[in-house]
Point group: C2
Chain length 205, copies 2
DNA sequence: TAGATTGTTAATCGATTAACAATC
DNA sequence: TAGATTGTTAATCGATTAACAATC
């Protein structure tokens, strides 16, 4: 059995991947743990240690080939393929997410947008026609979709989450400002701008 | 000199505050570290330890008075007052943030929306008229604003951040998918949905 | 070769948990 | 009083860092 990788290590890999992709865009082909660490405010030892969980991706004396390391990290994170995701909630935030062009080249594609408000159903958001939440489970099952983005009001987040999980969803990116209860096998990630803001004010004189 | 509180403790306080506020909304007036921990998937010992950094807020045998604990946490996090924030970037995401009604009752108020695109300047987003980024520093200095939300394309994020910092900003909530370099005294928090999604795919079979 | 940088080991540091006296 | 729960101490656990042999 492969050893379990600490979750905190996994959580840093997308940050490395993002920085490496940017370095590549800037035309750089090689980097070192030291340089990457400087950019990210992380120690070079930590970067080397994190990467060493998955194999030796670098060369002594020269460092890491950026395109190669990008491929390896994508492979580890399983984003060397495209994941379809459903988006639930077609309000301001859902609409912004539906329009966002940054998912495609990083491994994700919105496969459908759902809302239960009668005045939303049938309307167009970006390239999507908003569908009734009643048809949500159907699409998820049909296409084997594993990931959902949840942009509904806090009052409805738990019930929608329950429906998503029942339909086979394994990961929820929750924009509602509320904690979700979910079974062990479902990963929930949270995005709440106010929580982030409140994490800053403590430090501001 | 007061002892330094670990950053990881501070980062959990907004989560506690959010859950307590919800409990209060549900009409509950008292809770325990055990109950709160169950809701959040955190051990009761950790919650008690975290809170004990700031004082004894509970009573043996009965637990915590929710309204009192809420007030105390707001005080610790300095959100028992209103912080003005500037929003830079009036695209889809900036527009969604400008419309978001969830800032006001949690300690934050958008004081101005800025963009440098000529076709955006002067337009209305929610209750705001988009202003040129040239007038940004003026407002920040005038009103002593300390916090900014950054919703501009990655290519411009660093230069805008530099301008914000020069104008006196101490905290940046960065929605651009790029790491920002900032001096020691500036707190930067990141919101990148793709990073969150990539943190889930590793675990999904 | 000399310089640079990796991958890894051991040491250090810090965070979480368990346990319990105090007490409501 | 008996039961419940806090705040805190000490033990455990896990993550980060320092250091360096290996080697490009």
């Amino acid at each position: 059995m492969p050893p379990t990788i600490p979750d905190i290590v996994i959580s840093r890999l997308p940050i490395y991947l993002r920085a490496l992709t940017r370095l590549a865009q800037e035309g750089q082909t090689v980097t070192s743990s030291h340089e990457l660490g400087l950019r990210l405010g992380i120690s070079s030892a930590q970067i080397r240690k994190d990467l060493s969980h998955f194999g030796g991706f670098g060369k002594q004396g020269t460092g890491y080939q950026i395109p190669y390391l990008i491929e390896q990290l994508k492979h580890v994170l399983k984003v060397n393929r495209e994941w379809e995701v459903v988006l639930v909630g077609a309000g301001d935030l859902g609409s912004a997410l539906a329009h966002y062009r940054g998912f495609a080249n990083r491994g994700f594609r919105i496969a459908g947008v759902f809302d239960n408000a009668p005045n939303k159903i049938g309307t167009q958001v970006g390239e999507f026609t908003v569908e009734s939440t009643e048809r949500m489970a159907e699409l998820i099952r049909q296409r084997g979709i594993k990931i959902a983005m949840l942009a509904v009001p806090a009052e409805h987040a738990q019930e929608v989450a329950d429906a998503l999980i029942a339909a086979g969803i394994h990961g929820i990116l929750n924009y509602a400002p509320i904690n979700l209860n979910a079974p062990e096998h479902v990963r929930v990630q949270y995005i709440d701008p106010v929580v982030q803001l409140q994490r800053m004010t403590y430090y501001i004189p």
